[in-house]
């Protein structure tokens, strides 16, 4: 299939489908036909072939989308990266990964997880745009971002949302690295015990404390180790 992007009508049909899932015990199958219809899509030039594969996790999604866009010239790529129609098309294309069926039902969550609003806001909530944009910022050293590239595509989880929900922080490589070093256990490839809770020094506290430090210090000039040094003692258990 050729990579495409939804037009207004395609976006409307896809949004309606997502909305209908929330209240249905026997949902309709994904409307894959609108991925190729001329009245619901715009072509992308130059054309790019896309092969349907599953997305194993957020990192895998980021890498596959990066590879998918690689043949495109930078101006086209830049345009697509902010295009609601493109990300929504991709969401339907990978629908089995971003909204897998569970006992016959699908739980898409909020619409913005699949359709970025028309002004391009909320990309960090989009299940495919978010890992792609994070990966783009930190590659090739993507390991420094495993705390926000970890986990299934359809359920990013608390640890991911606590950092990606803060635009002032997620764009800072050293902050992302400090976050990963504090809360991600590379040996077990999962989060440290308690990291995702509400307690002192948890992921929830990290964002709040870092936002205060960000008003006082130029965090972008600091290595991850210095950022961790600035964190108060409540974070000691994760250092």
């Amino acid at each position: 299939m050729l990579l495409k992007r939804f037009n207004e009508y395609g976006l409307e049909l896809f949004s309606n489908y997502i909305t209908s899932l929330g209240s249905s015990d026997s949902p309709d199958p994904p409307p894959r036909g609108i991925l190729t219809r001329p009245d619901t899509t715009h072509s992308i030039r130059p054309s790019v072939d896309v092969d349907l594969t599953s997305l194993d996790n957020r990192l895998d999604a980021a890498q596959k989308i990066t590879a998918l866009l690689a043949p495109l010239p930078d101006p086209v790529k830049s345009e697509l990266e902010v295009d609601t129609g493109f990300w929504s098309w991709l969401s339907l294309y990978y629908f089995e990964s971003v909204c897998p069926p569970n006992r016959g039902r699908r739980a898409p969550g909020k619409l913005e997880r699949h359709v970025i609003d028309g002004k391009g806001r909320g990309k960090y909530r989009h299940l495919l745009a978010s890992p792609y944009l994070i990966y783009k910022q930190i590659r090739p050293a993507y390991q420094i971002g495993m705390a926000v590239l970890n986990g299934p595509v359809d359920m990013p989880g608390e640890a991911v949302e606590q950092l990606t929900g803060r635009n002032d922080l997620i764009g800072n490589r050293a902050v992302v690295e400090a976050y990963t070093e504090l809360y991600y256990d590379r040996s077990t490839e999962t989060y440290k015990p308690g990291a995702r809770g509400n307690g002192r020094g948890s992921c929830r506290r990290f964002g709040k404390v870092l936002l205060q430090l960000d008003r006082t210090f130029d965090l972008g000039s600091m290595p991850a180790s210095k950022i961790k040094d600035l964190m108060p003692s409540e974070f000691d258990r994760y250092r």
């Binding site: 930078d74 101006p75 830049s78 345009e79 990266e81 902010v82 391009g120 806001r121 990309k123 960090y124 978010s130 944009l133 994070i134 783009k136 910022q137 990606t164 635009n167 002032d168 997620i170 764009g171 800072n172 709040k208 205060q212 008003r215 006082t216 210090f217 130029d218 965090l219 972008g220 000039s221 600091m222 210095k226």
Partner: protein, 252 residues
């Protein structure tokens, strides 16, 4: 959560910072103009610019308070094509602590340029060997022209250098304004469209700096003279020619 400023961090007001975004080529690039005259800041304090859109941020070292010029290109590798860019300008303590001494946050683009060349809106650049001078001005075409002697032009690179701009930009502005006031017989300054005369384009350009509506056709010789001096001084305050020359000297 309440924000308490314990560090005496100063706020750079919107009228003290301007961002010009150049979108004519990809990747986009930007210029920053800072007016820090009202601040008592260490001249060696670092100027840092962060450009943000959604979850993507690009960061640029923009020299020091004394020489606020970027150490490299200001090309937006990740953010070209993004609408509504947000700029954050930080003045950072040079002691290595990372402490922010002053900042402007949420700064929007003051002006965007999509035409092939920003200066081409105001000036033409030519090369010639006709006169035994490094450069001179000519006013016989649709735009004032800076003519650079072919012997030193280096295919235009010299005109782009901080040394040339620092030493000559104010003089070029002064010559253009002098020609506009005393030689040009242009009288219609109401043509506000982009296709207007160079005289109108220059009046609008200068108004950015002195905020003054000025009509040379109705002004006395004395007021023209005063307007030229004031305009060149205010242009230079923003353009910082002396710092440009210092930067050029330091970079060899």
């Amino acid at each position: 959560m309440a924000q308490i400023n314990h560090t005496n961090r100063q706020t750079i007001e919107r009228n003290q910072v301007s961002i010009q975004l150049f979108k004519q080529y990809e990747p986009w690039r930007f210029d920053l103009t800072l007016d820090l005259d009202d601040f008592e800041l260490d001249g060696n304090a670092r100027v840092v610019v962060e450009v943000k859109h959604s979850i993507v941020t690009e960061r640029f070292d923009y020299g020091t308070v004394d020489t606020p010029y970027p150490s490299g290109d200001t090309e937006l590798e990740l953010l070209t094509g993004r609408p509504n860019l947000d700029f954050r300008v930080k003045i950072v303590d040079p002691d290595g602590s990372g402490l922010i001494l002053a900042e402007a946050d949420g700064v929007k683009v003051t002006g965007a340029v999509s035409s092939p060349d920003r200066r081409a809106d105001l000036l033409d650049y030519q090369e010639s060997e006709d006169r035994p001078l490094p450069w001179w001005m000519e006013f016989d075409s649709t735009l004032p022209a800076v003519v650079l002697n072919t012997a030193i032009s280096d295919n235009g690179a010299f005109a782009e250098s901080n040394m040339f701009r620092g030493l000559n930009a104010a003089m070029i502005v002064e010559q253009v304004l002098t020609h506009l006031c005393y030689v040009s017989d242009h009288e219609d300054y109401d043509d506000n469209d982009e296709e207007g005369s160079w005289q109108s384009l220059w009046l609008r350009f200068i108004k950015q700096f002195n905020g003054e509506d000025f009509n040379p056709a109705e002004a006395s010789s004395q007021s023209k003279s005063e307007w030229i001096v004031t305009s060149v001084d205010k242009f230079s305050k923003h353009y910082r020619p002396i710092q440009r020359v210092n930067t050029a000297q330091r970079s060899g």
